[in-house]
């Protein structure tokens, strides 16, 4: 079973070496697909919401006995839960918080929720984060945050992770630091996973910078920086990414 996956990953990495911008285009296509599926899931949430509203109206308008009302209430609660689960799945595919609340709030909420779900302490500090960061840059940093926290929780063994989101003149940076087991960076970059390569390429795509400082038993620090003042980024499309 692992052979096709490994060979696929190998192909992607070879592609990365031969045509770095091809990876950027794959990332763009991947994001678009996630947005599309998230949109379809939202339609399902609408359907669940309408069904819940219909049930609620039925409960109010009909002369029902206690047992029937209780049953309707039970189905109503079930539908609400189902709608909420679909909503969360949609959010995991394409975070609405980033669009609605901006990077700083979305990152803070993500760290809080992640900490609860994964039983890892996540310290979050933000400083002068620009509120008007373009969506592409926000998404690049947010994706790195998601990936870095998942990596820390899954592989580092650390019980505490520090996240710093900071804006300064012409740039916004994200640091995710843990004091866990660390790892061999060269080995990881050439291994079968795409997480690290994906983070690096996302930052490439956003014309930012990306680095990891780690060593076995020495913890890990992931640093991603974007530059909102780069005027040429704002209208950047996969086509222009290919040309750059």
């Amino acid at each position: 079973m692992s052979e096709p996956k490994d060979s696929l990953l190998g192909s992607v990495k070879e592609l990365d070496q031969m045509f770095p911008t091809a990876i950027c285009r794959l990332i763009a296509a991947h994001d678009e697909e996630r947005r599309r599926i998230a949109g379809e899931l939202r339609d399902d949430t609408d359907r669940a919401a309408l069904l819940a509203a219909s049930l609620s109206a039925l409960e109010l308008s009909s002369e029902l006995n206690y047992g029937a009302r209780a049953r309707i209430q039970e189905i109503f609660e079930g539908l609400k839960d189902l709608g909420s689960s679909i909503q969360k799945l949609s959010d995991r595919l394409c975070s609405s918080k980033l669009e609605f609340l901006g990077l700083e709030s979305a990152a803070r909420i993500f760290c809080r929720d992640f900490s609860k779900q994964h039983k890892v302490e996540v310290g979050f500090t933000s400083l002068d984060v620009p509120s008007d960061l373009p969506q592409q840059l926000s998404r690049a940093l947010f994706t790195v945050l998601e990936e870095a926290l998942h990596n820390a929780a899954k592989h580092s063994g650390a019980r505490h992770v520090e996240v710093l989101l900071k804006g300064s003149s012409g740039e916004a940076e994200l640091r995710v630091r843990d004091s866990g087991t660390g790892f061999d960076l060269d080995k990881a970059m050439n291994g079968s996973g795409l997480g690290l390569v994906g983070m690096r390429e996302r930052l490439n795509w956003a014309q930012g910078t990306f680095s990891i400082v780690t060593k076995p038993l020495g913890g890990t620090e992931v640093l991603a920086t974007v530059f909102p003042t780069k005027r040429y980024f704002s209208a950047r499309s996969p086509e222009s990414a290919r040309a750059s």
Binding site: R47, L50, S56, E99
Partner: protein, 122 residues
């Protein structure tokens, strides 16, 4: 009272129209399925009330609220969303929305809100 419905779900819009048609004095002037359409309709039609979804193609309901503020369009905005998180409520109400309703639990409140506003419109 002139109403614009901005939501990309035809299901939701059809259901809203069906549930509101019995309200005398209420006229649905248009429906918009994208942020661009909603912003344009608000600017050109100047409705009294807008029912606004949060997530639509081309951006979010917040973009529509920002456009309304920029164009100095004044109307009552009822946000009707599946994203009924407290942070979104705060953000929407802080950005100019007057009501923030959850689609799954407060769908029928839309009619109540509109009925309560009718006497204030000629």
């Amino acid at each position: 009272m002139r109403l614009l419905i901005a939501d990309d779900s035809e299901l939701i819009v059809d259901r809203l129209i069906a549930s509101l048609e019995a309200i005398k004095g209420l006229e649905v002037v248009d429906r918009a399925g994208t942020v661009e359409e909603a912003s344009e309709a608000v600017r050109t039609l100047r409705p009294d009330v807008v029912i606004l979804d949060m997530q639509m193609p081309g951006g979010t309901g917040l973009d529509v609220l920002a456009t309304m503020k920029r164009d100095q369009v004044s109307c009552v905005v009822i946000v009707l969303t599946n994203f009924a998180y407290p942070q979104y409520r705060k953000k929407c109400l802080g950005s100019g929305a007057n009501f923030f309703l959850d689609k799954s639990t407060e769908f029928d409140k839309v009619g109540d809100v509109l009925r309560s506003m009718l006497p204030t419109f000629p």
